[in-house]
């Protein structure tokens, strides 16, 4: 009745990876326990806190609401892949969060970085309301959110300036 481990192959932060996974293994657990990519944080494990948000085929996804087997053939990006894809340097958004003290304990940060990176790619000049709505899906208990909003606004402004 229960299926044995199933072979999967996918790209993780630009690297190909093959593995065998039981059907019920969550992508979040696979990333952390098999691949050691512990930047993907697990908070609530039911999609509410947003800490485990990664990108799958260029779209944000809660890693705790996906089975690892569903990533078969996909291109997965975790928080570790942000600076890696930027020549090892912090991205503008990461730098802005640092400058604005947009994190304290850092638990929520990976999910916010991934979601906000995605938002800025789709909406280069997001409104404050759009940023606040985005953060509605990410629970932060340290900052009070204001510095995070400011950091995202600054990253958007710097991008727009650079594009000019």
């Amino acid at each position: 009745m229960i299926d044995p481990p199933i072979p999967i192959e996918f790209t993780i932060n630009g690297r190909r990876h093959g593995d065998h996974v039981p059907a019920r293994l969550l992508l979040s657990d696979f990333l952390r326990h098999r691949l050691g990519l512990t930047g993907t944080h697990v908070g609530c494990e039911h999609g509410v806190c947003g800490a485990c948000t990664v990108r799958v085929d260029g779209r944000p996804a809660r890693a705790c609401l996906m089975l690892a087997i569903q990533a078969d053939g996909a291109d997965v990006q975790t928080v570790e892949g942000l600076a890696a894809a930027n020549g090892g340097e912090l991205t503008e958004l990461q730098q802005a969060l640092h400058e604005h003290h947009g994190l304290q304990c850092g638990f929520c940060t990976p999910g916010i970085l991934i979601a906000a990176t995605d938002l800025l790619e789709r909406r280069p000049d997001p409104s404050r309301a759009e940023i606040e709505q985005l953060l509605g899906g990410h629970i932060c208990r340290c900052t009070g959110y204001v510095p995070i909003v400011e950091a995202i606004e600054q990253a958007a402004a710097r991008r727009t300036e650079r594009a000019r």
Binding site: A23, H46, R59, P60, Q70, G137, H138
Partner: protein, 286 residues
């Protein structure tokens, strides 16, 4: 927590999916975006013996006028040009930014979350769902779809393949609104209104409220309060107030740790007034 052990099948086509449902139906859950299903699997509130992953079935991710394929994501529908006002207003409340990129329209309708925004809008707009089994395809009116919380008239061997959202006719205006404690959280109450104006008079109205019962509800009393009244001025104001009152009096609602039944009834009335007012404004300009 983690899902209990289960078998996993990936459907290659609609035919493949319905064949598997026909064979294993009773103990299978269909996995689309997973944004409502996966939490229940993680919490082991659901322990199906098999998950049928339909996310790679080709052809179900298209929008064709009023017809929305089951796998169209909430985010993708929100990006459609010329989107209906009520749908456009409800989507930003449907989960969060990240979950909307995976959550599907078909999944939202088939899951039957009583606090769900999309089921309420489909009901209020008089929409339908198309379901397919090995035996063929049939259409279910939104009014006949929900039998209670998380339960629908879709049979275990049937797959929801698309939904139909009737477009507004000339003179028709629509609006949606809700209140949640945090944007994107489960709503305390939501309301949807569709109002048609002809020669300065409201000739047709459909008013729906969500999150006050085990399924979305049409409030006939509220619609009756609007029909036959002037589309503007003091007469319209009075009719909207009467529709709100009919809503508050016409529903039972329930208590939970977020809100009392009394507050929910009050809220539903206030939201109906807001949605009806904006739908009417749009109808006068439509």
């Amino acid at each position: 927590m983690k899902p209990a052990p289960l078998a996993y099948r990936r459907a290659e086509s609609v035919e493949h999916a319905v064949a598997l449902l026909g064979e294993h139906g009773d103990d299978v859950r269909v996995l689309a975006g997973g944004q409502s299903l996966m939490p229940l699997l993680n919490m082991r509130r659901l322990t199906p013996s098999m998950l049928l992953d339909i996310t790679r079935v080709p052809g179900l991710d298209r929008v064709d006028g009023p017809e929305v394929g089951a796998l169209v994501t909430q985010f993708a529908l929100g990006e459609q040009p010329g989107l209906d006002d009520a749908i456009g207003e409800c989507l930003p409340y449907t989960g969060h930014y990240a979950t909307r990129h995976r959550g599907t329209i078909g999944g939202s309708i088939a899951f039957g979350e009583p606090r769900g925004e999309l089921p309420l809008v489909l009901l209020t707009l008089g929409g339908t769902a198309s379901v397919r089994s090995v035996g063929g395809e049939r259409e279910i009116a939104a009014e006949d779809l929900y039998t209670g919380a998380y339960t629908t008239t879709v049979k275990t061997d049937e797959l929801l393949v698309s939904t139909r959202w009737p477009q507004a006719r000339p003179g028709e205006g629509r609006a949606f609104t809700e209140l949640a404690q945090r944007h994107g959280d489960f709503t305390l109450a939501c309301a949807c209104a569709a109002v048609t104006v002809d020669r300065g008079e409201i000739v047709e109205a459909r008013i729906g409220v969500g999150a006050v019962a085990d399924r979305p509800l049409l409030v006939d009393g509220a619609a009756r309060a609007l029909i036959g009244t002037p589309a503007a001025g003091a007469g319209a104001q009075d009719a909207i107030a009467a529709a709100a009152d009919a809503t508050t009096r016409g529903i039972d609602a329930y208590d939970d740790h977020h809100a009392s039944a009394r507050y929910r009834r009050h809220l539903a009335g206030a939201l109906v007034a807001d949605a009806a007012r904006r739908a009417l404004d749009r109808a006068r300009r439509a």
